[in-house]
Symmetry: C2
Subunit: 339 residues, 2 copies
């Protein structure tokens, strides 16, 4: 340890797609922990589409990032020095300390992880906010019944791939929409989706969806918004439910996101659209995490991580999210755990 903390700051608010000059690398001194604090060495950081929303200065469900401050976000680290009774050196902890190599945390900012139930990186993915987002959005809003058809956009992404598996556990017919044949193969062969559609190759997405959903769509888990969602909306059944989780197609738009208004469809189908973020269900996190861990241990849930290496590569990893190349959860490994 060299007493230096590397950090990535928000250098300017992006208009359109973020680029390298959205970010600035700086080096500062590590702050020594005081009583009740611990010093953490970062092991993994999470990069997630929702972080794009925090880069602009507009009211949203989480406060915007501040200019010239460290980019916050889910991260896992190792306690290397403790002035707290609650943590000891070697503890693995999770918190929102974001894109920096060290962090001096107050006790309440972090939570200790159990290293034994699954690889620690899963706590940023299938056992963390990602898995819980899938779990609560599908089960509390989508409420799939056995035999119903569940369509998922962004189906090979971190959230979508968990949604589809939970829908299958609940006995639904599961149809995924994704953007490459590699992803389709993953969805059908690894995750046992009933059908998968490559929207980039579809000459008419609605027709392809209609073929894949002969009984219509009862639940549409929406991760993308835009024209893909417009097409799915045309196939909704009476009393359909749409958990609205993300709209990645719109996050980097410089113009307004314009498309068919949904009111007439919602009325005709007595359908529900409900936006949510995982924090809406915070009081249910313990039961959700427990059930996800149970399914994981029973082999009913699979997960895939794309782990990039190196602190310097965090911005590139984040920008990759919008290129649609990753399967499953995208993480950056910053350091190895101590021996």
């Amino acid at each position: 340890m060299n007493n230096q903390n590397k950090q990535i700051l928000l250098a300017k608010r992006p208009s359109g797609t973020p680029s390298k000059d959205t970010f600035q690398f700086v080096t500062t001194d590590i702050k020594q922990p005081e009583k009740g604090e611990v010093l953490i060495r970062t092991l993994y950081v999470s990069v997630d589409p929702y972080m794009r929303g925090r880069m602009i200065d507009a009211p949203s469900y989480v406060a915007p990032f501040q200019l010239n401050e460290v980019i916050e976000g889910g991260a896992i680290g190792e306690v290397i020095e403790s002035q707290s009774d609650q943590f000891t050196e070697g503890d693995i902890v999770i918190g929102g300390f974001g894109w920096q190599t060290y962090y001096t945390a107050k006790e309440k900012e972090i939570r200790k992880l159990d290293k034994d139930i699954a690889p620690i990186s899963t706590h940023l993915g299938i056992l963390g906010m990602t898995g819980l987002t899938a779990y609560f959005g599908l089960l509390e809003i989508g409420k799939p019944k056995e035999g119903e058809t569940v369509v998922i956009s962004g189906a090979a992404g971190a959230v979508g791939s968990v949604v589809g598996q939970i829908a299958r556990i609940k006995g639904a017919r599961v149809v995924g929409i994704a953007g490459s044949d590699e992803k389709l193969q993953y969805l059908k062969e690894e995750l046992q989706f009933d059908e998968a559609i490559n929207y980039k190759k579809a000459s008419n997405l609605k027709d392809d969806l209609a073929n894949a959903c002969p009984n219509g769509v009862d639940v549409y888990f929406d991760n993308v918004g835009g024209e893909i969602s417009d097409a799915v909306h045309e196939l909704l059944n009476k009393f359909a439910r749409i958990p609205v989780c993300g709209a990645i197609s719109s996050y980097n738009l410089e113009a307004e996101d314009i498309g068919p208004r949904v009111q007439t469809t919602l009325i005709k189908k007595s359908a529900l659209m409900q936006g949510f973020t995982v924090g809406d269900f915070a009081n249910l996190f313990p039961s959700g995490t427990a059930e996800l861990a149970k399914w994981l241990n029973e082999g009913k849930l699979k997960y895939q991580e794309t782990i990039k290496e190196g602190f310097e590569n965090i911005p590139d990893a984040f920008l990759d999210l919008f290129k649609g190349n990753n399967i499953g959860k995208l993480l950056v490994k910053v350091a190895d755990i101590s021996d």
Copy 2:
């Protein structure tokens, strides 16, 4: 009685705004009732925006009207001849027999009304589908809490005017959007809305709404869709609820109804949009009707009817709906009740 039945048929499916040639008047012989049937003389017919949707041949929550068939819709009549044990001459009945001066009904097609609890015409309005639409949409989907802000578009219409009054009964702050100063006066002075906005005079509807809703919008009861709804969506509070009841702004559009996509707003606000039709709550009709009648008798609910006279004027009355001139429920009186 001259043995002749006047009927209005759907002559052709409208593209854009319906016009007189959408309809055809014909005269047929009255069908004499057989055993289990009654002959009804029509007293009032209801004209409603949703009927526009039935004029096109597309799947919806009710079957489309058939070409060259009588326009169906809510109607009240008097039994003038009965071959049924369940009805006697002079009974006032309600059913969906629509735009014709006589109808020979099977017992199960009609329901007897209590003439004493309120003027019979109210059973097509505040005590009928209109009132129930307001009641269930607001209370089952909107779920206003005391002190919350409820915004209503089409606020002076048959449904909207009831929604606002129920919201006030529940202790909400009520803001109506309507299209004339006469309507605003009615909403504020007669119905005691807290604020009312004339969207036709607003230079910036969102600003006017923001002024009228200093604490944001918790419930938006949407009767109109279109740009008015776009503006309201910008003011939603966290966990806002939007019962989507109608989209009259779009019903006569010849082009697609295009506007800002809602996904990002719904996510940021963890907001819910739910389309519905009153039939979704059919199992709750008795309790809803009872509570509406109670409020009406207690003087907590007021209603206004615009009653046009004369069977020949039904199409014009229907077309008036789309001009936005009527306040409250629009009906056509076809005949007087017998002495």
